[in-house]
């Protein structure tokens, strides 16, 4: 225990004194969230760019029917004249073009643009009398569980940052230690591989937890995120996710002293996880084999567990499947990593 504690404390000091590493660990997820919050914001984002040009005879007036001006689907871009507007339409810089002040409203779309066709339909229905439309279609509103993309993205980014910090923070460091003989020096002491590895795992988990809490608190206060479910469940699934990734890194770093090779291997693991573990987008529509493969990746269970808790208010018992899978992955990788571990290259 004394030996474990000694290495654990040394590793912690090493981390917090490495100011550059510490900065990126915290700044990186924060910058991603801030960037996406600026791009997407909340609510429905305007999907179509509507170019408007004034009628030839009139003075420069861009009057459109109120229903179009207020439509959340269009962002209105003013054009100096008809030719410019149509050129932009042809170049797909605009999805739709309308001539202000005309009744009925003249509009143009490009036949080669699928978004244009959709924009035309939306413009038509926006102009229609709502009372008439009601006879054909009745809009209902879902209650409660509406999740903005940015709310959905937030747990994914936290999970992704945890993955990178766990994989590279441990895998890379251990391989470097083996390369420059730090491990060899430790091997000459009574320290066991298990003591060494567990000190690294616990230290890294502490680091990940600390930086994530900081990012969470700052982002929550700036962008209004909140966790609908149990914080305990959130911390448990997050920590187990961290443990499973750190253990995975231990397996990668158990042998070899080539930093480039280790880095390649870590990238090979982290990139598919970034895209197939639903960090940025859902893979609901992907082929079945992709969905099956995604289930093998530990990050998939972290992001799904965290979203259940944060976005849909789940508790500890609701995310038991994720917790059990992550615990199993951690146990298997930790055992494998200790068993395969070599002090020298």
């Amino acid at each position: 225990m004394k030996a474990f504690w000694s290495i654990f404390m040394a590793r912690n000091k090493e981390f917090y004194r490495d100011r550059a590493g510490l900065f990126w660990n915290i700044a990186f997820p924060f910058l991603i969230i801030a960037g996406f919050a600026a791009i997407f914001g909340r609510g429905v984002e305007p999907s179509y760019k509507l170019g408007v040009f004034p009628q030839l005879e009139s003075t420069l007036a861009y009057q459109l029917p109120a229903s179009v001006e207020e439509s959340p689907f269009f962002s209105i871009v003013k054009m100096p004249d008809k030719q410019t507007a149509l050129d932009k339409l042809a170049a797909h810089k605009l999805e739709i073009v309308a001539e202000a002040g005309t009744i009925p409203l003249n509009f143009w779309v490009s036949d080669s643009s699928p978004k244009g066709a959709m924009a035309g339909e939306i413009l038509t229905s926006t102009l229609a009398d709502p009372l008439v439309l009601q006879q054909y279609a009745a809009r209902q509103t879902i209650e409660g569980f509406q999740v903005d993309y940015i709310d959905w993205l937030f747990p994914g980014i936290l999970g992704m940052n945890m993955m990178f910090s766990a994989l590279f923070g441990v895998g890379f460091v251990v391989v470097r230690y083996r390369k420059n003989n730090v491990l060899k020096r430790l091997a000459a002491t009574p320290l066991t591989a298990f003591q060494f590895l567990s000190a690294h795992v616990v230290s890294r988990l502490l680091v990940i937890l600390f930086s994530t809490v900081l990012v969470y608190v700052v982002c929550a206060s700036l962008f209004g995120f909140h966790c609908k479910g149990s914080y305990l469940a959130l911390v448990v699934v997050f920590l187990l996710g961290g443990a499973s990734h750190v253990s995975l890194a231990m397996v990668i770093a158990s042998r070899g002293s080539n930093e480039e090779f280790a880095s390649g291997l870590l990238n090979l693991l982290s990139w598919p996880m970034m895209f197939l573990s639903e960090v940025w987008f859902s893979i609901e529509g992907a082929p079945d084999w992709v969905k099956a493969f995604s289930q093998v990746l530990p990050l998939t269970h972290v992001t799904s567990g965290m979203r259940e808790v944060m976005n849909y208010g789940a508790g500890l018992s609701d995310i038991m499947p994720q917790i059990l899978i992550l615990a199993l992955i951690t146990t298997v990788f930790m055992a494998l990593g200790s068993w395969m571990f070599k002090w020298t290259g």
């Binding site: 004394k2 030996a3 504690w5 000694s6 290495i7 404390m9 040394a10 590793r11 000091k13 090493e14 004194r17 490495d18 230690y177 420059n180 003989n181 730090v182 060899k184 020096r185 430790l186 091997a187 000459a188 002491t189 009574p190 320290l191 002090w343 020298t344």
Partner: protein, 296 residues
């Protein structure tokens, strides 16, 4: 009493026979030196004995029995090149390592022994070569070991830093500890070691105390002159009593009868202004035994 016994140690690597049947014994309380040029197999031998790399075959006994887990508690090791945990001060590094052992040496005593009082608060990677070597030495002594392994403890150090390390090794010995070191500095071996083994190409060429070895193998004296002192071919001066060898720009004479040798040189009209005469050292011994120089 022998603290370590090594019998017929062999280490094969895929294309190299690094260690080829090495046997030696280390007396308790003595300083044992493994000498030889780079690539002779000194470090490989040492690291097998330390338990860092596995042997191909052979037997290793510590205090008369195969090594157990306790071995790591009782020995101290200094490797040739080691990076240390980054972002730690010298003091923190010592504390970290000291906590890995059941019975560490008192830190203040260790710090005084290795003369590190003035660098305690500096980071590991911000200290000079000599200071780092002293820190590595201190780490090897942190558990107050009975047996200390030092792999080329003074390579790359300036003369003053080297003497510093020698002083520390002497004080370890004075406390009754056993030291096993490797070096390719003959002077170091002559100054520190009670017993040496000279290795070449994975084998021990000769072993014994430095004084005995020089008596047995290096009788006579060496006289050296610049080649420009000769008006004739110096090699023609060789006879049964005098060996002549060209050494770079110099000509070296080796003889048991220096008076006769000098008379012969005078008779031949050789300019003796730049002559140096000295006893052979381990370096000459090595050259005699292997036909090669130590630092080739």
């Amino acid at each position: 009493m022998d603290i370590m016994n090594i019998h017929n140690l062999v280490k094969h690597y895929p294309r190299v026979q690094a260690v080829d049947g090495v046997s030696f014994a280390v007396k308790s309380g003595a300083c044992f030196g493994l000498l030889g040029p780079n690539g002779a197999g000194k470090t490989t031998t040492l690291e097998i004995v330390e338990g860092i790399i596995p042997k191909t075959s052979g037997e290793i006994f510590y205090k008369g029995a195969p090594r157990t887990k306790e071995f790591a508690q009782e020995v101290g090791i200094q490797f040739q090149s080691t990076a240390l945990l980054s972002f730690l001060t010298v003091k923190e590094t010592l504390t970290t390592f000291s906590r890995l052992y059941a019975n560490p040496m008192d830190l203040d005593r260790l710090i005084a022994l290795c003369q590190m009082e003035d660098i305690l608060d500096q980071y590991n990677d911000k200290i000079s070569g000599g200071q780092k070597q002293r820190l590595l030495l201190a780490l090897a002594l942190v558990n107050d070991p009975e047996l200390v392994f030092l792999d080329e403890p003074t390579t790359g150090l300036d003369p003053q830093a080297r003497r510093h390390v020698w002083d520390i090794v002497r004080s370890i010995k004075a406390r009754g500890k056993t030291v096993v070191l490797t070096t390719h500095y003959m002077e170091e071996a002559e100054k520190l070691c009670d017993e040496i083994a000279i290795m070449d190409q994975g084998r021990i060429v000769v072993k014994g105390s430095p004084a005995t070895l020089l008596m047995e193998h290096g009788r006579g004296v060496l006289a050296t002159l610049p080649a420009s002192s000769f008006s004739m071919d110096a090699l023609t001066l060789a006879n049964e009593e005098i060996q002549v060898r060209r050494k770079g720009e110099n000509i070296q004479f080796r003889t048991k009868d220096i008076k006769m040798c000098l008379e012969k040189l005078l008779q031949a009209g050789v300019d003796l202004h730049s002559i140096t005469v000295r006893s052979p050292n381990l370096e000459d011994l090595f050259l005699d035994l292997t036909g090669r120089r130590l630092r080739e």
